[in-house]
Symmetry: C2
């Protein structure tokens, strides 16, 4: 709850992490898009705006943001990880089209509730739920 309101800046400040130039750029780009992106795509977005940040820093910052709960890592396909910020879209799931690679988000409080209930019944303290539906979208040909 407090966490929800914590800004990235506050988060960094609270742990002796520094708000550097590269981090600022990355954070800005991460929150500027509502799409999923890979580490490399993010670097490309930045590069396109004339902002150069090294791959290593992109990875390091993304992982920092994941730890802070600002960003989530998704395994949409094998290969590279995809990321997305968790700003106003927590707890959603993904439909992934194997043809187009397109990803659609959806929510299902009822399915989620059921899943949490089952997990709890097994003595599991749920941390996060990853639900990916692979298939073919009629629309996205």
């Amino acid at each position: 709850m407090k966490k929800e309101l914590e800004t990235v800046e506050q988060y960094l400040k609270g742990r002796d992490f520094r708000l550097t130039q590269p981090r600022r750029k990355i954070i800005e780009a991460v929150f500027a898009t509502h799409d999923h992106f890979t580490a490399d795509e993010l670097r490309a977005m930045l590069s396109q705006k004339g902002e150069k940040v090294s791959t290593a820093t992109v990875y390091r910052t993304l992982s920092l943001l994941c730890d802070g709960g600002f960003v989530e890592a998704l395994d949409l396909d094998r290969g590279q990880l995809h990321y997305e910020h968790v700003l106003g879209h927590k707890n959603h799931f993904h439909l992934i089209c194997s043809d187009s690679g397109k990803v659609i988000e959806f929510r299902s409080p009822s399915a989620e509730k059921t899943i949490r209930r089952i997990a709890r019944a097994r003595g599991f303290e749920v941390n996060s739920i990853s639900l990916r539906v692979f298939g073919r979208g009629r629309a996205c040909k």
Copy 2:
């Protein structure tokens, strides 16, 4: 339905694939365990029984078995893929303990039904559902 009954041998025969010595060993090991394993763990299991199979062949055969629907690949953690055979436990989901790494399987026809309905409503022809619940198991300390 017919598929359910098809043996690996029949599958191979039907497509000019050969039932070789290495494949036989791998298939045997895959169905001998009801646990998840990585390509390397499988190679280790074989090696422990004095059966040497190259990593390349393990990967190739595992991917063959996945194509045939006999084995499923799971992304339990980032890093290496985990596999499991689909013999009598289709359509189950996973609870993954971040502490112990232990994996518990569970089923939820109701959640599954809900998920499929939503997917279909979005014009999605569902191919497979991957549901992973990450958390901490009280039991597996």
